[in-house]
């Protein structure tokens, strides 16, 4: 079951990721300020999110390698209404997808004081958010 209560008047905290044995290197990387992804040693595909098998060739020879935390804004939305009660204190929240040069896409939030200025295709750079127990990778326009 989930660990988030469904009712109560106290504000609900956004849920944090719970790393798994497979994904732990990803989260350890973020905590150290580095973006590490799985790289398939068989077919050379980059993989996100972490898996036990490469989704391109289904091989298992996967290595963790550091990549630049930068990319382009693939798409985004400004959630005016919270997407769930846990995010009631976060609206308006800019939820987005960033595409890295190696081809993978990452769900994130966009840190900006000018959401109206955001455009699909804009250059973005990573922001390692270590304010909570598990580090998150957010992005901000790179200008």
């Amino acid at each position: 079951m989930t660990h988030v209560p469904a009712t109560g008047s106290e504000p609900l905290a956004p849920p944090l990721p719970r790393p798994t044995p497979t994904s732990a290197p990803y989260w350890e990387g973020l905590a150290a300020g580095r973006l590490r992804l799985q790289h398939c040693q068989t077919c050379a595909a980059w993989i996100h999110y972490p898996r036990v098998r490469c989704p391109a060739c289904f091989g298992t020879d996967l290595a963790w390698e550091a990549v630049e935390a930068s990319g382009v804004l693939y798409t985004f939305t400004v959630a005016v209404r919270p997407t769930a009660p846990m995010f009631a204190g976060s609206v308006p929240q800019v939820i987005g997808v960033v595409e890295l040069p190696v081809g993978v896409r990452i769900t994130t939030t966009i840190e900006t004081d000018d959401p109206d200025g955001l455009r699909v295709g804009m250059a973005m750079k990573g922001v390692f958010d270590t304010s909570e127990r598990v580090a998150l990778l957010r992005f901000t326009p790179d200008r």
């Binding site: 079951m1 944090l16 790393p19 798994t20 996100h48 939305t77 997407t83 929240q93």
Partner: protein
């Protein structure tokens, strides 16, 4: 294998925001709904030998078809629970048709129910499911780990992200996106069973309704309602002696590539493209040959992408296509003539069956005030998740 199975009968309850009937358990609702659909078809309950259902039987989280078969007193050769969200209904119909054409069974009820149950006098702890919607927050779930912590859950923000990318690549004609809602609400306005019966809207009203997730407004998002919908699928032989014009399942397709849009191969070429191509090819027709489309519409953007991806216009031409055509029951491109879910209301998984029910009603010539003059061939789509799981049907009147 030539396709010959037919839809013979339908049942659909009025969409209601405030349910005025007597609450029944889901299993009771399902049995009653099946009886209505069988009665409509003129087929005896004892003839049923197949069930396609969804995960909406609250009293049975698992072993759903067995629970239904036992409750209804049926011995079935097909017991299918379809798990495709909004595409479950369309998926159920082709699964039933294929099983019948394979000789496995002869009469299959495909039903989905979403009406209130009696209040529990001893309620347990609230189900946290509603917090996460269609997303899973279980440990080890990719969504729980990589999407939900960033607020990417539920449906609104996902569909909004499709819309954002579409507009940034193909232009910001928001009035045409709103026109999808306007045209469908014009059809709902003459449908006495629709939640928005008698309540048309203008594009200005759509675009000035509250912003939910940019660029999508409240009126571009379905209204949850109570309701239920079912069809009876049977062999062409049995359908020939049923009460109404047989509606043949002439083609179908299904395609799934992702659960969360972040990981879709291409956000603007959604899985319905492959599903539609297969369905139309199987039926031996082209998009130009259909008399109507009944397109799954949880959001305005869903309709836009489905029209485009299904081949009714070219890539990036969807907004111009909507601008140039009247999508209402009076128009030259009748789309969601019951109002769609945007106009009829969305009754859980039964919402996806509303498109099938409307196509059958139109083909059988019993769509009332919104009856189309040309009504022999329909293209129907179903969409689950966030443009994730998509199914398509071609239905042809015999």
């Amino acid at each position: 294998m030539p396709l010959s199975a037919c839809v013979a009968g339908v049942a659909q309850h009025r969409a209601q925001r405030h349910f005025r009937g007597s609450p029944l358990f889901s299993i009771e609702q399902w049995a009653n709904l099946a009886a209505e659909a069988l009665s409509d078809a003129g087929i005896e309950p004892g003839e049923v030998d197949g069930i396609c259902c969804g995960g909406d039987i609250i009293e049975a989280s698992r072993f759903v078809p067995a629970t239904i078969a036992e409750y209804c007193g049926w011995s079935v050769n097909l017991a299918e629970r379809v798990d495709l969200g909004g595409a479950s209904a369309v998926g159920a119909v082709w699964r039933a048709a294929t099983a019948i054409d394979a000789g496995l069974c002869d009469v299959v009820v495909c039903g989905f129910v979403s009406e209130p149950r009696p209040p529990d006098p001893n309620p347990g702890p609230p189900d946290p499911g509603y917090v996460y919607g269609a997303s899973s927050n279980e440990w080890g779930s990719p969504q729980a780990e990589f999407d939900i912590p960033y607020g990417n859950l539920g449906q609104n923000c996902g569909y909004a992200m499709y819309a954002r990318r579409y507009h940034d690549l193909h232009g910001w004609d928001e009035a045409s996106r709103a026109k999808i809602v306007v045209d469908q609400r014009a059809s709902a306005a003459v449908n006495p069973d629709a939640v928005f019966h008698g309540v048309p809207v203008t594009a200005d009203e759509v675009l000035s309704s509250p912003m939910i997730a940019t660029p999508l407004h409240m009126f571009e998002i379905v209204m949850p309602v109570s309701g239920a919908a079912a069809v009876v699928v049977t062999s062409q032989k049995r359908a020939g002696s049923a009460r109404h014009r047989p509606v043949r399942v002439a083609g179908f397709g299904e395609h799934i590539t992702h659960k969360t849009p972040t990981y879709a191969p291409d956000l603007l070429t959604t899985p319905v493209a492959a599903a539609a191509q297969k369905a139309l090819a199987m039926a031996g027709i082209t998009p130009a040959d259909v008399d109507m489309v009944q397109i799954y519409d949880c959001y305005s953007i869903t309709v836009l992408l489905t029209i485009e991806n299904s081949g009714f216009c070219g890539p990036g031409q969807g907004l111009a296509f909507v601008r140039d055509h009247d999508l209402s029951y009076r128009g030259d491109f009748p789309c969601n003539t019951h109002g769609g879910q945007l106009g009829f209301g969305q009754a859980g998984l039964a919402g996806g069956m509303s498109h099938v029910v409307e196509a059958v009603a139109q083909i059988q010539g019993r769509a009332g005030e919104r009856q189309l003059a040309r009504h022999d061939r329909a293209y129907v789509s179903g969409t689950g998740g966030v443009m994730s799981e998509q199914s398509a049907l071609v239905l042809v009147g015999l």
